[in-house]
């Protein structure tokens, strides 16, 4: 019961935060044929930014970055939102874990 209440609370908090963050700068990344497009995204350093990843492939992909400390499965033909930052200036690599050989990219914070 307490667990359920926590879950409801967490979900409400999630909805609230997502709403509050709607004004953050948003960047779009697409996945097609197991490749990211564009392969390099420039974002401002020191700010929270929103990364919208659209998976145009029919198969799921996992956005994975140990540099950014993010991992998220994006099902086929759908999109996911990933909040990143605030980042220090530098290059942050990410991969699609399910197709590591082709799906690669970098977030550059300036």
């Amino acid at each position: 019961m307490a667990r359920l209440r926590f879950l409801a609370l967490a979900m409400a908090a999630g909805a609230f935060c997502a709403g509050a963050l709607a004004q953050d700068a948003s960047y779009t990344l697409t996945i097609k044929d197991h490749r990211f497009e564009p392969t390099e995204i420039q974002v401002p350093a020191g700010k929270k930014v929103k990364l919208v990843v659209k998976n145009l492939d029919a198969t799921p992909e996992e956005f994975d970055s140990s540099d950014l400390r993010r991992e998220k499965v994006i099902p086929g033909k759908s999109e996911a939102t990933i909040m990143i930052g605030p980042l220090r200036p530098g290059a942050y690599k990410f991969i699609g874990e399910f197709h590591e050989s082709t799906a690669k990219g970098t977030v550059v914070a300036k």
Binding site: R3, M11, G14, A15, T59, P60, V73, H99
Partner: protein, 280 residues
């Protein structure tokens, strides 16, 4: 094939290590195999369901459903592990005593095994659903890969199970008297690591503040996605770049569990002391 094997190994390792620790912690308890099998079975079933509804899950809670789901699953496992340790602090000594006495009737049955079955199912559920999606993705992305896929899957699965089996057999070499003390510490660290991981998911979902992006950075020595990193990650909650809040949650979990164990264990049955008192 090797790439598939490595990914499968990493995913299997976490769940298999949890199972091996649970098996060691329940040594000598009747019907434990059955309960652990229930846990694995429920986890696999759950993983298939989660994979099937991945799209709905990802879209839930304004696109943050996946993070919240992962954090919740980990949270349930932490609570169950904590419950187990607190329960053991009350009954562990008598169990160790009966284990070390040859031929003594094993005091099984009374132990809440479903608690550990839930832990096992949560571990399998989380790692399994990612594995199902990954395998589905490869299978769907091109025909003619199925042989490679099957090879890699088996290799990874066998590797993960072998490593966990080695851990289990290693644990069994510990004398019965000390075994529960060791598994108790293992479960404590396991739970703290899971709690820290849950915190990381909540940071990713922007629900918790990170309080420091990286307390330290050891990603050059032991990267998170290496097999050693994954092994340490499961066992002690290792993270190459922990958030401040992860460290706080980690320490808080250990502190809280130890305090509860002390509190509940105070009235525990102490066979040695009782026997000595009876002789005098």
């Amino acid at each position: 094939m090797l790439a598939t094997a490595v990914i499968v190994l990493r995913e299997v390792l976490e769940a298999a290590l949890v199972v091996s620790i649970v098996l060691a912690a329940t040594r000598g308890v009747r019907h434990r195999g059955l309960w652990v099998s229930y846990g694995v079975g429920a986890g696999v079933l759950g993983a298939l369901v989660v994979a099937a509804f991945a799209e709905k899950l990802a879209a839930a809670a304004s696109g943050l459903g996946q993070e919240i789901f992962n954090a919740s699953v980990l949270g349930i496992a932490v609570v169950m592990l904590g419950w187990h340790n607190v329960w053991m602090s009350k009954h562990g000594r008598e169990m160790a005593a009966s284990l070390s006495q040859v031929g003594a009737a094993v005091r099984g049955g009374t132990r809440p095994l479903y608690v550990l079955a839930i832990v096992v199912s949560m571990a399998v559920l989380r790692e399994g659903s990612e594995l199902v999606l990954f395998l589905y993705g490869i299978a769907a992305s091109g025909p003619g890969q199925s042989g490679q896929l099957a090879g890699g899957f088996v290799l990874g699965l066998v590797g993960g199970i072998a490593l966990s089996l080695a851990m289990y057999l290693g644990l069994l070499r510990i004398p019965a008297k000390r075994l529960f003390a060791v598994t108790g510490w293992l479960i404590l660290l396991l739970a703290a690591g899971m709690a820290a991981q849950a915190a990381a998911f909540l940071v990713q979902a922007d629900i918790l503040p990170p309080i420091g992006q990286a307390v330290w950075d050891t990603s050059r020595f032991v990267p998170d996605d290496s097999v050693v990193g994954k092994l340490l990650h499961t066992l002690i909650g290792y993270t190459a770049k922990p958030y401040g809040i992860q460290l706080a949650v980690y320490l808080l979990t250990i502190g809280l569990m130890l305090a509860l164990m002390r509190l509940v264990g105070r009235g525990a049955y102490k066979p040695r002391v009782d026997r000595l008192a009876g002789q005098s």
